[in-house]
């Protein structure tokens, strides 16, 4: 049911684990199936210097975590915020339709981690309703 890119990220997840002294942490749950994803960020000069994930979920959720962390590593915080689940799905060369929602976990967890970072920096959290949300896919 999954393509080889998805299976590769599932079996050899990149950036798996926790960061003890993270600058930002975000945990989100998918109400639909009770899955949980946690993202840890290390930020240097407004750039994602390190990123790690922990995921309790299906193959698509794990592969999305892995791919999403790859996609934001080295990006600016703003660029990382703009990563949509659609871009994650595209980078994975597609997910089965009923599994597209799993990739949303990654987008949401990254947002939660970035806002945690911003709050810790004394900044306003960003609003979830930015223009980029049109790129969403469920």
């Amino acid at each position: 049911m999954y393509n080889e890119t998805v299976m590769d990220h599932f079996e050899h997840p990149r950036n798996q684990g926790a960061i003890e002294d993270a600058d930002g942490e975000g945990e989100v749950g998918n109400a639909q199936c009770g899955d949980i994803m946690k993202i840890y960020l290390k930020v240097e000069d407004d750039t994602i210097a390190d990123v790690r994930f922990q995921t309790f979920g299906c193959g698509a959720a794990i592969a999305s975590s892995s791919m999403a962390t790859e996609l934001i590593r080295g990006k600016t915080v703003e660029e990382a915020w703009d990563l949509t689940n659609k871009a994650v799905v595209e980078a994975l060369a597609g997910l089965p339709p009923q599994k597209v929602h799993c990739s949303l976990l990654a987008e949401e967890a990254i947002h939660a981690a970035i806002n945690d970072y911003r709050v810790k920096q004394g900044l306003e959290p960003w609003e979830e309703t930015g223009g980029h949300r049109e790129g969403h896919e469920h």
């Binding site: 599932f10 684990g17 994803m37 840890y40 922990q54 309790f56 299906c58 009923q98």
Partner: protein, 389 residues
Amino acid sequence: MDHAATTATRPEVAAAMVPYMTGHFGNPSSLYDLARVSREAVAAAREQVAAAIGAEPKQIYFTSGGTESDNWALKGVAFARKAKGNHIITSAVEHHAISHTCVWLEKQGFSVTYLPVDRYGMVDPAAVEAAITPETILVSVMMANNEIGTIMPVAEIGAVARKHGVLFHTDAVQAVGHIPIDVRAQNIDLLSLSGHKFRGPKGTGALYIGPGVRLDPLMHGGAQERGRRAGTENVPGIVGMGMALELATAEMEENTRRITALRDRLTAGLLSIPETYLNGHPERRLPNNVNVVFAYIEGESILLMLNRRGIAASTGSACSTTSLEPSHVLMACGLPHEVVHGSLRLTLGEQTTEADVDYVISAVMEIVQRLRDMSPLTPAELRSRPESG
């Protein structure tokens, strides 16, 4: 390790079916001989199926599978007895072939009670009795559960139904060919079975209809199966199912001994993994069924990794289904939502060896550890190494 889902047809059964497909029986046959050969083969298969469940051949009606038998039993009785009453009793842990049919019957004006089960997935016969009203026309409780392997107190439930003049149907799709059955001793009025669950062909099944039981056809049409189930008979399929069931019955005792031992070895191996629990009844369960939950991880991920290692399995996690609903069976047993997600069903077959079991145990151990290392829920003491970072 997923023999409860389906089994391959025995090669000797497949070979025996081919002449009934092509009509080439080797010896030069006249028209008469050909028709007679088919007729006698169907009659022989009816005897084989009847013998396996303690029924008479004329009480066996061939269908296209377990799903058809279940739909027929429920809709057939419901529509035939609706003048008598509109209430049906079933359990919360039935296969969808029963539960979805019940939901549809509710839309047609029937009222259905879905009895709860205990933590082992067992229906209490006393609860059946308590649920019976003057409107009750049918009780349908499965013989053995397809997910957790629990064997229901079918004889007792049947006795309660009989006492109150209510028909009793049992979905025995997972039981036939695997555990001994006697429709008379077990007070069964209707029983569903499916050929591909005991190494017979797919697309074959049967409904046992006890003496005096009236039900509407599900398949209206020609006069096949004594006017009760229309449609050209699938002669090769019927022949194959009869043969497979006869073989399964003959080998049952020996197989049960061997497979139960393997099952117990597998269960013990898996339960040695910390925070792992057995689902279903510890003793009253199918000889081939193991169902466990691993805390902190999710079933589809386990399945995928097992598949990559050549092991088929099944899970009750919502994430593995298109409907995104977790197993209604495990939920009915009282497992919390997140725990249901970490369930794994392994079902053994006749060809499973001790080496297979040991390979599965070590594969599962390694996979569970990998996934727990990845999970945000895992407590530190269950992780294999300290977090990187």
